[in-house]
């Protein structure tokens, strides 16, 4: 996306140096009345073509600096355009892709479970029901009970808020740090880059989970979910920083970044305004992937009993099922093990689907197509859900854009 797309006048000039304004968003919102009545009277639009050569289209010679926008937008129009661009088009894209839609539904369900769930479902306590009641045997305890008669459904639901908090803190920590280091290092280059990348590569070669285990054991920290989230992703930023750096290396040579540089805009502003927006799809996808890694890692380590915790969560449930009730060696307690397992897999599946769909939201081509549809009611179904061909078409686009997806 172009960093200046909220300034419609600049945008129009940007769309093509021949003056033919073909921005779908402008079309969509303004319609025909924003066009100048007489195209010949407009000023010369000069710019640079792909090879950096100065190009002018031979209009009347008015200096670029005196030129004013050819059309204006009222505040209402701007607001509508902003809404269209930032909210409606992405929403439509998400809804048109079955994977993004499913992912969103699953994740929303978990959010709901985390926010509303604990108020609806009774808190877990011993002897809520018969001991080791199997799943789907009674309506009162749909998921069955533990060896001490705790309802598994209420245990699962009440563990959700802490788990979500942990996912969010881990993902935010690693993505923010990874993006900051990756973009700065890739953009600055030179000595800063080589020092940052040496440290980065070292962090990358230290095994993450063992490091987490050692730190949790030696530091004797308390089991607050936010702290655990950060601890799990303690060196996950390094891989992301490397990947982002290599993308920035190609971006930093592009024309609009060069333009910003010539205009004397400061480095932090260029990185935040010109570089980061271009990487948003990649960053978002990694945010979701990191959240998935946090849930995998944390549940695994809770299962091993090496992380401190303040309240029972899905990993602790699995640990109790295996080590207290012997769920692996006898089928009597298998539901105790399967319920948290399924909870983890479903959330991870939702996150994976969402990550795949995230690419589409930020893909400018897909966005433009969806923005157009409010004007002309669509030219042929771009994303009829359930339609086999469009699904694979979407997969191709997604998969093509990502090289380090999920491992």
């Amino acid at each position: 996306m172009n960093p200046t797309d909220d300034r419609a006048s600049v945008d129009a000039e940007d769309a093509g140096s021949d003056g033919a304004v073909k921005d779908p968003l402008v079309d969509a919102v303004g319609g025909a009345d924003v066009r100048p009545a007489d195209a010949r009277k407009r000023s010369a639009i000069t710019g640079h073509d792909r090879h950096g050569q100065a190009v002018t289209d031979g209009g009347e010679a008015v200096s670029q600096f005196e030129q004013t926008a050819e059309f204006t937008m009222s505040k209402g129009e701007r607001r509508r355009q902003w809404l269209e661009e930032k909210l409606l088009a992405p929403a439509r894209i998400v809804w048109s892709d079955w994977r993004a839609r499913t992912g969103l539904l699953v994740v929303s369900f978990y959010l709901l479970m985390g926010i509303v769930g604990p108020h609806v479902v009774a808190a877990p306590s011993p002897n809520q029901g018969r001991r080791l009641l199997g799943a789907f045997r009674s309506l009162e305890h749909p998921f069955g009970t533990t060896a001490s008669g705790v309802d598994l459904l209420s245990q699962t639901v009440h563990a959700t808020p802490a788990m979500l908090l942990m996912l969010a803190s881990g993902a935010v920590f690693s993505v923010v740090l990874g993006t900051a280091i990756g973009t700065t290092s890739g953009y600055k280059g030179g000595r800063f880059d080589s020092i940052a990348m040496t440290i980065n590569d070292m962090a990358m070669t230290i095994p993450g989970l063992p490091l987490t285990i050692v730190l949790a054991s030696v530091l004797q920290i308390e089991g607050h979910p936010i702290v655990i989230g950060i601890l799990i992703t303690i060196n996950a930023w390094a891989g992301l920083a490397r990947a982002i750096r290599s993308q920035v290396l190609t971006l930093r040579e592009s024309e609009y970044v060069e333009a910003s540089r010539i205009m004397g805009i400061s480095t932090p502003k260029i990185v935040l305004g010109d570089i980061v927006p271009n990487l948003m799809p990649y960053i978002t996808m990694n945010f979701v992937q990191q959240a998935r890694m946090v849930i995998f890692g944390s549940v695994g380590l809770y299962f091993l009993g090496v992380l401190p915790y303040t309240s029972t969560n899905w990993g602790v449930m699995m640990d109790a099922a295996v080590h207290r009730a012997g769920a692996t060696s006898s089928l009597l307690a298998i539901h105790w093990l399967l319920v948290p397992m399924f909870t983890v897999i479903a959330l991870a599946f939702g996150l994976t689907l969402l990550a795949q769909g995230a690419d589409r939201i930020f893909n400018p081509r897909v966005r433009a197509r969806h923005a157009e549809t409010i004007e002309g009611e669509g030219e042929g179904g771009d994303g009829d859900p359930g339609d086999g061909t469009s699904t694979t078409d979407a997969m191709e686009k997604n998969a093509g854009g990502t090289t380090t997806g999920g491992i």
Binding site: M202, T205, P207, L209, V218, L331, G400, G406
Partner: protein, 336 residues
């Protein structure tokens, strides 16, 4: 050559940093391992132990002499490690090197085989999916791949242990090999090793290959649309040559970095898998040491896992420069 030296230097530096880090964790943390060990020795030996005797024991266990200045302790610790002296396990009473040393090959065997299997099956499947793009097979396999990608390997391991191990009794539920066999290069022993390793390896490989397949599929499809491929066809090159030299090679290259990260994830993940199957590898001992607060054993395991991983990643990195010459340069130029 310069690149190789730089890369090796970095590997050594990483190990140095990790070792220093572990020294700092053990030695400098107030209320940390040192105080715990001291309290434990006093508890065991009674109050009649002299200060000197306590220090002697701590030195034997951690390789750190407590009454010397910090930098002397640091140098002693480092030289000890270089000579293979990782201290003494509090729990087992044996030198750490003797406990973990024999466990390393088994961990490397598990993770290495799992990585290799997952990668190989993944890229073959991914290439085939790209070839059959849009077919029912492709859509189905993509769904399966996405699902496997969202399943943690320990879930597969637990299910495998429950159903294939305990219920159907097809696979052993623990250990590295049947205890009655003579260790050595003989067929029953090797078969037993494979039999015991099968479930741990498969549970790691199965969830990994979904991700590789999806990656490979995407990369291959993108490359299938490239101009150089059209040129290759126009030149009349054989399909086989195009598929292997042009498509496969270019599709695998971007996944090489992912492979390096996967090495790390595999070593970390092996900790959980080894504990589920009671497989005495490095990760198994590491968790044992944590449950008994056996700090020398824990740090020894951590250092050795790191060293194994650094070696793995360095090899992968060096061969990458060799496979793809473009990677040797890089954006080292100071720009803006």
């Amino acid at each position: 050559m310069n690149y190789v030296l730089k890369r090796l230097g970095q590997a050594v530096l990483t190990v140095l940093v990790v070792v220093s880090f572990s020294f700092a964790l053990i030695r400098l943390l107030p209320g940390g391992p040192m105080d715990y060990l001291r309290a434990k020795i006093i508890e065991q030996g009674g109050s009649d132990l002299s200060q000197e005797a306590i220090n002697m024991r701590i030195e034997a266990q951690t390789g750190i002499t407590t009454d010397e200045p910090i930098y002397v302790q640091y140098v002693d610790y480092m030289t000890g490690l270089l000579q293979g002296d990782f201290g003494q396990s509090v729990w087992f009473g044996d030198p750490v090197a003797e406990i973990i040393g024999p466990a390393i090959p088994w961990t490397v065997f598990l993770t290495g085989t799992a990585l290799f299997l997952g990668f190989l099956v993944g890229i073959s499947l991914g290439a085939f999916m790209a070839y059959k793009e849009g077919s029912r097979f492709d859509v189905g396999a993509t769904g399966v791949g996405l699902f496997l990608n969202s399943t943690p390997n320990y879930v597969v391991a637990l299910l495998g242990l429950t159903f294939l191990g305990y219920q159907l009794e097809l696979f052993p539920t623990g250990g590295r090999y049947a205890s009655e066999l003579t260790v050595g290069f003989n067929l029953p022993f090797l078969l037993s090793v494979l039999h015991h390793g099968a479930l741990p390896i498969l549970s790691m490989a199965i969830v990994a290959f979904g991700g590789w397949a999806l990656n490979m599929r995407g990369n291959s499809i993108r490359i299938l649309g490239e101009d150089f491929l059209r040129v290759a066809r126009l030149r009349g090159l054989s399909t086989r040559r195009i598929a292997i030299r042009y498509v496969a090679r270019n599709a695998i290259l971007p996944m090489y970095t992912g492979l390096m990260i996967a090495i790390g994830t595999a070593f970390g993940g092996a900790i959980i898998i080894e504990n589920i199957f009671a497989y005495p590898g490095v990760g198994f001992y590491m968790i044992q040491s944590i449950n008994s607060r056996d700090y020398p054993l824990m740090m020894g395991a951590f250092i050795l896992i790191t060293v194994a991983m650094v070696i793995g990643i360095t090899i992968a990195d060096l061969t990458y420069g060799w496979i793809d010459p473009r990677a040797r340069g890089g954006g080292s130029r100071e720009s803006y």
